[in-house]
Subunit: 84 residues, 6 copies
């Protein structure tokens, strides 16, 4: 039984860069970065799973998570000059 | 009975670009992106529907959702040089 | 009895532009945009009215609403080069 | 007994400009703008007073209010080129 | 028994400028500005002390306070061209 | 029994600069800055530990913490010209 997420789930910036080819890839990166931050704060997979059932059906929790993704994406989009 | 939202509801950046012709289109894109983020975190349509009745009449939930849209719009507006 | 707000209450960006003559007009636009976002998420006027009595006297709800306006204004002010 | 705050309490941007001589004046403006937004959403002074006793001693309410001021100040400081 | 914090605790921008020599000084300024905002909203030291015991051990309250500092620091860091 | 965190846990900006070689290092700095802010507000290690068990398994607390890291990272990424 794993007591800690694997190392690749704990990288702060997966891929090591904020630069992406497309906005869609940038969005996926924002999602990943947000998730990995949670993993870094709580690297125990059982603790993460314990909270998931309630969180995943609570609209306010989903809205709060979406806000974090929005903020991460803001950074990534600016880094990419908004892919103009 | 669908257990998962269709693929087009899960795209991170519908249309694949942040650039829009008008502020109004940019606003609709902000709304869409915010909604799709929720879909990506919770792709089960039944789970989403379960939370909706309470969420949709709770002013604080609506305010929180509006804030996410405001942040997404900030990114889109800047990407479009604010449509000056 | 109306089941849906009139179309003009549902426009994302009333007036179709972020550019305003004065900061005061920009502020009013920020307020309108925030309100219309709520309308777009919940277009049923009865549902909106139902939540209002509690929301309008709850300081924390008012603070949360003011924060959304602050974020919308940030976008509008930057679009207008801060009306320098 | 007043049922509505006086007009000067309802101006969106008191003074009509974001430009101030000093950071201190900019900070006071941020505070004023945040407060007037609350007034615009809830212009009934009795409703505002009713919520104040609890709000003013609740650290979380004070933190939330301080965050709104921080966001308004961010806009004002950028408008003033950060008073460099 | 003091009924009001001393004047120096109520200044909006202690030192009167956002420009600092180092990032560390900028961070301390962000903390001070956040604290003084709380003081300006609630200048009664007894009211502030009353809320402190619960607030100071509640992780969510600490996180919310840290977020305000993060926003103030964002403004200060930009004002200083990020001390590059 | 320590009553106060050691000095190195209380630095506002560990390393004294926002400039890092890589995005990954920038992300770790964002995490550290967020954590040290909490330490500065509550420097008693026992008080911090007391809140941890509940906080670390509460998804909403983790989301709120991730949001603070996202905001700090936004500042650091901009300071580094987004490591383009």
């Amino acid at each position: 039984m794993s007591q800690r997420l694997p190392a690749e789930e704990l990288t702060g910036i997966p891929g090591g860069t904020l630069i992406t080819k497309t906005p869609e890839e940038g969005r996926q990166l924002a999602m990943l970065i947000a998730r990995h931050t949670i993993h870094q704060i709580q690297p125990n997979p059982d603790a993460l799973k314990a909270g998931r059932p309630e969180y995943a059906v609570d609209p306010d929790s989903l809205t709060a998570a979406a806000q974090v993704v929005a903020i991460e994406f803001q950074t990534i989009a600016a880094a990419n000059n908004y892919w103009r």
